[in-house]
Amino acid sequence: MLIRRNRHAESPEREVTDPGLYLRRREFVTGAGAALVLAACGPADDPMAEAKAEATTGAGVETTPFEKATHYNNYYEFGTDKEDPSENAGQLVTRPWSVAIEGEVAKPGTIDLEDLIKPSAVEERIYRMRCVEAWSMVIPWRGVPLKDVLARLEPTSRARYVAFTTLLRPEQMPGQRRRVLEWPYREGLRMDEAMNTLPLLVTGMYGRDLPNQNGAPLRLVVPWKYGFKGIKSIVSIRLTETQPETAWNVAAPDEYGFYANVNPEVDHPRWSQKRERRIGEFSKRPTLMFNGYGDQVAALYAGMDLQKNF
């Protein structure tokens, strides 16, 4: 098949904006104002204050280099070493892709990925991502708000939770040939968590389609929870009445809970959650409650004992 490219209409490669600058364009706008505000504030030597300021204003936020975000991954379906997903995920075939819509919805069925995403306005959002292992990144995601997609599915009055499932395809996902976790990977959210403005159904990052090792072609991002809640390569969305089982909670219930909210006051049984290594930085930084998104989500947990419901 002859694919035509209109080379006259294209800009030369050298004129393309550096992706790093392109992705930080909004930061330049917010950063200018925030810098003035911060200059009027107290001393800059308090790491906690710095982290909080960065979280609220976005000033000084550096997105993690693309190379690191795509070569340091936890995606056990492709192996348990950090370099395994980038080495092994190339074999995953991500088109055609459809998502099963099941459970407490008006019209259950199967929908093509394109049809699932198309009706929503695609947004680009820069979110912090905090892994339960105590490292973190800042990633510019591209996707659609989960709440918009869920609203379109017309949940019934019995829908109290959203459950997601990853693809099960051991012939292309070599890690699934061993039961290091129960396959397929499952995750879930409470309905009010899912209808919050923050969660994104993501199809891209850094201005391009999701690489396979980052969860192509469709993944969830819930920035105030530990990264393992961000289920990858989604093939099923089911609305349920009862709390769904989730992969890490099944694997180690005393270490990984259903809520998995980022919380410096609730340690993992084997390591502290008070600090984290922002990939690319030398010193560890203090971990923020709800990963710094408390303003938008703390109300969801009013009155809940977060030590018990971890």
Binding site: Y72, Y76, T80, K82, E133, L181, K274, S283, K284
Partner: protein
């Protein structure tokens, strides 16, 4: 032989300078893991010398027991320092809390501390000075190796294959040592 055993360290240094690859997205973690793995490997190598010598007849390995032991201590020191100084940069006050509250760090630090007197008394002068007590003191290497295996097992998130492999090797070395000790009573020839 010592030069070959220092290759992992040279590899890390090279990658730190950008030669032959890099140290990955989390360099401190890479250095910590690599130095830790080689501490454990040289500890097991140290414990393998006598069984290989006595049961398999590799007499030429004898002088390497101390070499491997000191290499284990060297890598162990680098491992501990990488964690205590680099990983905890700016938060060194949390070191004692980590050692007290995180079981894998408790057992790892204990194992490392045990290697200190072993390294100090590794010289011929000390062997002479301590006599029979030297042998008793250096049995601590078994405890240190066990502590190292537990340290590894308790820090891994879920994939326990590699820690179990090392624990298996340690168990085999314990069994081999048991065989060496019991050989006379089992009627096996020297």
């Amino acid at each position: 032989m010592v030069a070959a055993c220092l290759l992992p360290l040279a590899g890390l240094a090279a990658r730190a300078l950008g030669v032959g690859g890099d140290l990955g997205a989390d360099p401190i973690r890479t250095v910590t893991l690599t130095t830790g793995m080689w501490t454990l490997r040289f500890l097991l190598a140290t414990l393998a010398v006598t069984p290989l010598r006595r049961l398999a007849g590799f007499a030429q390995l004898a002088p390497y027991r101390r070499t491997f032991g000191l290499l284990a201590f060297s890598y162990g020191s680098l491992h501990f320092l990488t964690y205590a100084v680099l990983d905890l940069w700016g938060a060194w006050d949390t070191l004692l809390e980590d050692i007290a509250k995180r079981p894998y760090i408790t057992v790892g630090s204990t194992g490392f501390v045990m290697l200190v007197p072993l390294a100090i008394t590794s010289t011929r002068a000390w062997i002479r000075r301590l006599g029979k007590r030297w042998v008793q003191l250096h049995r601590l290497v078994y405890v240190a190796a066990l502590a190292g295996c537990l340290h590894f097992l308790w820090l891994v998130k879920k994939d326990v294959r590699e820690p179990l492999l090392y624990a298996g090797i340690l168990a085999a070395l314990f069994a081999a040592r048991g065989l060496v000790l019991l050989r006379p009573s089992l009627g096996l020839s020297r």
